[in-house]
């Protein structure tokens, strides 16, 4: 209420009353007085400022105290009987709910159509066409490859962008930054100093063995990717093999030495991801557009079984493989050191 009375002088009603009583003169006088008051030297306001600041600090102190009191009470409370009972009830409820969910799920799985029966709903015209006409229509001997990269390519386009957005999320979260002048921040220097502990100490056996294995692994990964439309495999599995090879090399030879190699820098990661995904979305966009409008896409189907066949499946597998490999590698480096 005190607040209200303080402000009463300047309120609309008070001004209206003053105007009623003394005409416009009174209002003018009060305005002049207000102006004069404001024009007073700022000594007063500075002191006020200080007082305000002090009050604010006090409030913060009070908050702090209150918070500590709450925490203390919480600590004491957690030792009381009621709290222990609550924790127990909470855990009991969690277990009971979990058991109930497990029971419901298991019983519904047991009620589903029996696995592997020929008259199951899932064995319908959709699967039949994939199996019977898959090779003829997509040119891919590997039916799974034909299905994910031709019949249902839109899903796979989304799936490869899931990887991309995951890489973006990890970079957003873990990549240490340079400050405004482009110098490394303290965090980054600390991380680098920390990272020396993980660097291998010229372990000759590991290095020699990895020099033997890594080229084979890379070659095998490339083989799996390039044969995606001919045999089991494809971009996702081949890419994972190549990513593992990159990580092994870095583990054996250390990031500092590997960083000088052409495959391991951040720029390479950036441009490979860009190239692969841009090619994927543009090529597949072209093919979607042509297909949806019933136009001929002029991409040759080739003879099934040849390495150059099956429309876009081979280049798309390569793009997916590259994205998977470098995404895996970037995850490893970012989780270890925060930059590369």
């Amino acid at each position: 209420m005190a607040k209200l009375r303080d402000n009463y002088e300047t309120s609309l009603w008070a001004r209206f009353l003053r105007w009623m009583k003394s005409g416009s003169k009174g209002l003018e006088r009060s305005m002049i007085r207000a102006l004069e008051e404001e024009a007073e030297p700022s000594q007063h306001s500075e002191a006020e400022q200080l007082a305000l600041e002090k009050a604010r600090e006090e409030r913060e102190m009070q908050d702090h105290e209150r918070e500590r009191a709450i925490q203390e009470r919480l600590h004491l409370w957690s030792k009381t009987r009621g709290a222990r009972l609550m924790t127990f009830a909470y855990r009991l409820a969690a277990v009971v709910i979990c058991l109930a969910v497990i029971f419901v799920l298991l019983s519904s799985v047991s009620m589903l159509p029996e696995f592997g029966r020929s008259d199951n709903p899932a064995n319908n015209e959709v699967a039949a066409r994939y199996i019977e006409k898959g090779i003829e229509e997509t040119g891919a001997v590997n039916i799974v490859g034909g299905m994910i990269l031709n019949y249902r390519a839109f899903d796979t386009l989304g799936e490869s962008h899931v990887l991309f957005v995951a890489a973006c999320a990890v970079m957003m979260l873990l990549r240490l930054r340079l400050d405004k002048d482009g110098r490394p921040t303290r965090e980054k220097l600390d991380a680098e100093a920390d990272d020396r502990k993980y660097e291998p100490h010229n372990d000759v056996i590991l290095q020699k063995v990895s020099s033997l294995i890594v080229p084979c692994l890379l070659l095998f990964g490339i083989y799996v990717v390039f044969n995606g439309h001919l045999s089991a495999g494809g971009g996702f599995s081949g890419g994972a093999i190549m990513g593992a090879a990159l990580i092994l090399y870095v583990n054996a030879h250390g990031l500092t030495r590997a960083g000088r190699q052409p495959l391991f820098g951040f720029k390479v990661f950036k441009y490979i991801t860009f190239g692969a995904l841009a090619f994927y979305s543009l090529a597949k966009g072209y093919s979607f557009f042509m297909g949806a409008n019933h136009l001929d896409s002029h991409i040759p189907l080739g003879t099934p079984g040849n390495i150059l066949s099956a429309e876009l499946i081979l280049p798309l597998n390569i793009a997916v493989g590259a994205v998977v490999a470098w995404t895996m590698y970037s995850f490893y480096v970012l989780f270890r050191k925060g930059d590369f």
Binding site: N7, V104, L105, S108, M111, L112, P113, N120, P121, A122, N123, N124, E125, V126, R129, Y130, E137, N150, Y151, R152, A153, F154, D155, L157, G158, E159, H161, V162, F164, V165, A166, C168, A169, M171, M172, L173, R175, R177, L178, K180, K270, Y271, T273, F274, L277, A278, S281, L282, G285, S287, F288, F289, M290, G291, A292, N293, S297
Partner: protein, 496 residues
């Protein structure tokens, strides 16, 4: 020309996906410009599409690739989808513009590109989810939305956002898992992933005594997954931290876009995949109805207790999502129309509230506490006005969107059985009262006159533009509601 306009939804999706990888190698300014251009292009194309679809008066399907629907992927375009796409992309553009200067402060300069990539992929995922006619495609883009939302939360790396993101990921991955489990069950029962084909088979399965219970579990799993992801009341614990501490654009996008995408998917699931008659038969909508009602009240009660303005606005989201689920749970067409309209109303108002809150916080020494916000409506007049308009819309003052949606909820309630009518009307009245308490309390705090003569903060031009557009959008939803409601009704009819 026929040939061209059929392709518009496909162009929208492809443009967003393709621009994301190009944004990775651009400079910071170019990335920003690209992102804004892409969203504007999507808006323009959606407007064109609405004009064409309403002239054409029906829906059509568009196959993604050479192979027709059950074998290949397919998208489906109707009036409701086009209106939804326009609404979501408009809100996205305004939220991005409104928070642009704050993004510069909160996100490290060398991570801006990642932030804009995230927005492009988020729009792609939203559009794909709105248009898709295939449940598995929907799931793939649900995954993209889950991860983009995580990036939006952690973009501002302050301690609390990391905790929020961890909570968010745990809850949302559980939601995704439940949805995927339900999807597997559904595929096992029907053998299809295409929405229309599942719908045909579900009618058979529902009448079969052996599979009736499994179908109930399936629908329950999928609804529960989407309810967790859109923060329906008992599953909302991840929400206040995630919305309350991230950069304002992220909060706006999370509350008005991400959760709305999941709700739209749920509506699609009920209408197009399972069918409302089966849903009414297995009574899953009654469960959602109850949770919606409780959420409406509990969200408001939590909001009243908050002393932090951002968290208060976040808790108000819980209440508003309760309204939407209440409308869906009524199980009638009128209820669904009200729910879909409320998606737009809440989207427009809540994103504006988050952005204007950031403007008010900016002039109050970066404090979100009510006692420091006193008089901030005078220090940043534009943000104050925007906050007031948003609050009034949420409370349900006439001439604003919230009023119309409350009227339609009440109208829909009148058509239920008498007990429910009474319950809905009572809850509506109680929650309106609670909304009034916490929103008007805040508005009054903003205009406490102890600093009426404080120096006025000059708002950034993009912020001013976005606030003005959003105020206009809220007024438009309130004043020109009839054509929008008609479009939603026609779109829902095209759904079935």
């Amino acid at each position: 020309m026929e040939f061209f306009w059929q392709n518009l939804p496909f162009f929208c999706i492809l443009l967003c996906i393709a621009s994301a990888s190009f944004t990775l190698i651009m400079s910071r300014r170019a990335a920003q410009a690209t992102c804004l251009t892409v969203i504007s292009a999507v808006i323009a194309m959606s407007v064109l599409l609405i004009a064409r679809v309403s002239a054409f008066g029906g829906s059509y399907t568009f196959s993604m690739g050479h192979f027709p629907a059950p074998w290949g992927n397919e998208i489906r375009v109707g009036l409701l989808e086009a209106v939804m796409a326009l609404g979501l992309s408009l809100i996205m553009l305004f939220s991005l513009l409104g928070g642009l200067d704050r993004i510069g402060e909160h996100v490290f300069a060398d991570k801006h590109n990642l932030y804009f990539i995230t927005f492009e992929l988020l729009l792609a995922a939203l559009l794909a989810q709105v248009y898709t006619n295939d449940l598995f495609t929907a799931y793939v883009f649900v995954e993209i939305m889950t991860l983009t939302a995580c990036v939006l939360i952690v973009a501002r790396s302050k301690g609390r956002t990391l905790v929020a993101a961890t909570r968010y990921m745990i809850m949302n991955l559980m939601g995704s898992g439940l949805f995927l489990l339900g999807l597997c069950f559904l595929y096992d029962l029907t053998g299809h992933l295409l929405m229309g084909n599942i719908h045909e088979k579900v009618a058979q399965v529902a009448s079969d005594a052996a599979y009736g219970r499994v179908l109930t579990v399936t629908v329950a799993l999928m609804s529960l997954g989407l309810a967790i992801k859109s923060a329906l009341f008992p599953f909302h614990t991840w929400l206040p931290d995630a919305y309350g501490y991230s950069t304002p654009t992220s909060s706006a996008a999370l509350s008005s876009l991400v959760s709305k995408g999941y709700i739209f998917l749920l509506i699609k699931l009920f209408y197009r995949v399972i069918g409302m008659d089966v849903i009414n038969q297995i009574r899953i909508n009654d469960v959602l109805f109850v949770f919606g009602l409780v959420g409406t009240i509990m969200g408001s009660l939590s909001a009243i207790r908050e002393k932090d303005i951002r968290r208060m606005v976040s808790f108000s989201s819980v209440a508003q999502i309760g309204y939407i689920y209440m409308g869906i749970g009524m199980g009638s067409e009128a209820g669904m129309v009200a729910a879909v309209f409320h998606i737009f109303v809440h989207g427009a108002a809540k994103s504006m509230l988050f952005l204007s809150t950031s403007g008010l916080v900016q002039v109050s020494g970066e404090s979100k506490h009510f006692r420091d916000l006193r008089g901030s409506g005078f220090r940043n007049p534009l943000a104050g006005v925007a906050f007031t308009v948003g609050s009034f819309s949420m409370v349900g003052i006439p001439f604003l969107g919230g009023f119309i949606s409350k009227v339609y909820f009440a109208k829909a309630a009148m058509m239920l059985n008498p007990t429910r009518t009474v319950i809905v009307l009572l809850v509506l009245a109680a929650s309106t009262l609670l909304n009034t308490v916490y929103f008007l309390k805040t508005v009054i705090t903003l205009y406490r006159n102890d600093s009426a003569d404080a120096p006025k903060h000059r708002a950034a031009p993009v912020f001013a533009l976005s606030m003005l557009c959003m105020v206009a959008a809220n007024l438009a939803l309130g004043v020109f509601s009839q054509p929008i409601i008609e479009a939603i009704r026609a779109g829902l009819r095209m759904f079935a």
